[in-house]
């Protein structure tokens, strides 16, 4: 297997996706290191979602090369799926199932054994401080807790990479900060974090940031380097500088 030989978690090499005449993702190339927190920014319509879908094995690229966790994005999507976790803004677990039931279900579809689910479940519930709420329906929890639980469920099966598609949408700043603590913890445990966000202060928390404009990657570097490069003090202005020239989208 080629997994161990690759030093990178994600490799994209001229990855392209066309829908008819429309080029949603236009030959993007980048590499994400193991255990890195990689910020994936871009205005709405810039092609972020399509790019993530290709990397998650949900959409086959039109051209270009790519590997995720060492597996090919064309031919080994099943294996990719087994080695990644995924959480999106829209996703906030099943509201009509309890905390325990949600954990059991998602762990179950990732093929974890019942015994392992049981021990890990108790640990997780204790860690999140949800012991009292374990049998409550998720719908009754505050949004921040739901998001934290959703993230924990996404990494419950210890994937190599976790994809977070705007995970902190609609969450207050304090909870967002706590959420990022979870992300750091996962990264420290060796999980690569691939995260998209609309909050540019969050971009500062990433090891490296790429900014997509009109289907291409317009900039890719550490937040400090990017700010230096654009001669500004905030990621906000870096983003604005790049995104204002965009022809697509309308965020």
């Amino acid at each position: 297997m080629s997994t161990t030989a690759t030093p990178h978690s994600i490799v994209a090499d001229g990855l392209t996706k066309r829908f008819g005449d429309f080029v949603a993702v236009d030959a993007v190339s980048f590499r994400v290191n193991k255990g890195e927190i990689f910020g994936f920014l871009g205005a709405n319509g810039a092609g972020k979602t399509t790019a993530i879908r290709m990397l998650c094995g949900l959409s086959i690229p039109t051209s270009g090369k790519g590997t995720v966790a060492g597996f090919d994005v064309y031919t080994q999507t099943e294996r990719i799926k087994r080695n990644i976790g995924y959480m999106s803004q829209k996703f906030s677990l099943y509201e009509d199932l309890s905390v325990t039931e949600n954990i059991e279900f998602f762990a179950g579809i990732y093929g974890l054994s019942r015994d392992r689910i049981r021990t890990k479940r108790e640990e997780l519930i204790a860690k999140l401080g949800l012991v009292q709420e374990a049998d409550k329906l998720v719908g009754a929890l505050p949004l921040g807790w739901k998001q934290k639980l959703a993230f924990s469920v996404a990494v419950f099966h210890q994937p190599q990479i976790v994809f977070l598609d705007e995970p902190t949408g609609g969450v207050d700043p304090v909870t967002r900060r706590q959420f990022w603590d979870l992300i750091y913890e996962a990264a420290d445990a060796g999980i690569t974090v691939f995260v998209t966000t609309h909050y540019l202060d969050e971009a500062e928390y990433c090891d490296r940031v790429s900014i997509m404009v009109d289907g291409r990657i317009a900039a890719l570097d550490t937040p400090t380097e990017l700010k230096k490069q654009f001669g500004t003090g905030t990621m906000d202005s870096v983003f604005y500088e790049l995104a204002r020239g965009a022809k697509r989208g309308g965020a």
């Binding site: 949900l58 996703f91 677990l93 199932l97 279900f105 179950g108």
Partner: protein
């Protein structure tokens, strides 16, 4: 290699089990839907069974008594004594009956021949005529049944001079072949299964799309087709419970016999359930919101199927284009199958054609599902 294949299969099975368990939890937690799902068939069977057949009470009937003898008098008194009929005493010539029917003054007529008593004493038997207004088939049949019972009872009654037989000869007016007779149980079965399998399945799958959980399921190692199948399984089980409940109710409460083979009936029902589930899945693939799915199932499917299956309106009476269209409704074929098995006691040899049509439909729908599903996966 072989063990790996085995491992893989058992992994799929455990995925499936966690999924089905979760799906049942969704279902059991939604009390309102649950009530509808299980209450509806019961209410419908009882409604169709009782409300419609209890209508025979003090039905106006004319007795054209051409005999005017002791026997005819006794018979009329007996009919009048029952709570079912009110005998109008007008003396009418047989031709006047038609007018009485047309004006709605009467629902039935009994014609007693002039030589009633004489023939009875002579031959020991005679024939009387029962006329009913079969525009309302259900009522006409019930009236006929009650009247026949009264007459038979009368001819067997004690105190008569001789054990003679009066044979009622019935003629259903306006709809002599009794098309579209209220064989409502097969109809209710088709309807309930359609509703549960098509609408509930479609809505349940689309709900995951709306919530965004479908995305997460598709990113998981569960195969997409397996996701869909696991969502359909609980509804398959539920439909089966409903089916058994309807059959049990119709046999115990409504005294409707299952003349044919029960295993055959269940097998055919399973086929129909599969057809419906496939349809529901198809709807869930092509629609994006719960409302759209519900609308598509209800307006686009359930109503036309109800109208076109022959359950409410006889297919023979429809205009030709609708008759042709009715062939596309799966419930039309299922309705025939259930009627043939339950009421006529037919075996597989007489319903193989309908079975073949349903199987063909299911395969076709399944193929369309797979195609659409794959397109969806790659093109979004």
């Amino acid at each position: 290699m072989a063990t790996q294949g085995k491992k893989k299969r058992s992994a799929h099975l455990s995925h499936l089990l966690s999924f089905v368990r979760k799906e049942f939890r969704h279902m059991l937690r939604d009390r309102k839907t649950l009530l509808i799902l299980f209450g509806m068939p019961v209410v419908q069977v009882l409604l169709f069974g009782f409300v419609l057949s209890n209508e025979v009470k003090e039905t106006r009937i004319i007795v054209v008594d051409q005999a005017k003898d002791a026997v005819s008098q006794a018979l009329i008194e007996k009919i009048e004594a029952s709570s079912y009929f009110t005998v109008l005493t007008d003396s009418l010539p047989p031709t006047g009956i038609t007018d009485a029917f047309r004006s709605g003054r009467i629902k039935a007529a009994l014609v007693l021949p002039a030589d009633l008593q004489r023939d009875l004493l002579h031959d020991g038997r005679n024939t009387v005529q029962i006329l009913t207004d079969a525009t309302d088939i259900n009522l006409a049949q019930t009236i006929e049944g009650y009247l026949t019972a009264i007459i038979t009872d009368f001819s067997l009654a004690d105190g008569m001079a001789a054990p003679y037989v009066i044979v009622p000869e019935t003629r259903m007016l306006y709809n002599p072949e009794l098309r579209g007779a209220p064989n409502f149980v097969p109809g209710v079965m088709a309807m309930v299964l359609l509703l549960v399998c098509v609408m509930m399945t479609a809505v349940a799958i689309v709900k995951e799309k709306e919530l965004g959980t479908m995305e997460v399921l598709l990113v998981s190692p569960m195969r997409p087709a397996l996701v869909i199948i696991s969502k359909a399984i609980p509804y398959l089980i539920l439909s089966f419970i409903n089916l058994l409940a309807i059959l049990l109710l119709s046999v115990t409460v409504l005294d409707l016999p299952i003349r044919g083979s029960l295993p055959l009936l269940l097998a055919e029902s399973t086929l129909f359930i599969t057809t419906c589930l496939t349809l529901g899945i198809l709807i869930s693939i092509v629609t994006a919101s719960q409302q759209a799915a519900m609308f598509a199932s209800l307006i686009g499917l359930l109503l036309p199927t109800m109208m076109l299956s022959g359950f409410m309106f006889p297919i023979e009476n429809m205009p030709l284009p609708l008759q042709v269209l009715s062939n596309a409704a799966p419930s039309r074929w299922y309705y025939v199958i259930v009627k043939d098995i339950m009421i006529k006691g037919a075996g597989f040899s007489s319903i193989w054609k309908e079975t073949a049509v349903l199987s063909g439909m299911t395969l076709f729908l399944f193929a369309v599902c797979l195609k659409k599903f794959n397109i969806r996966l790659s093109e979004r």
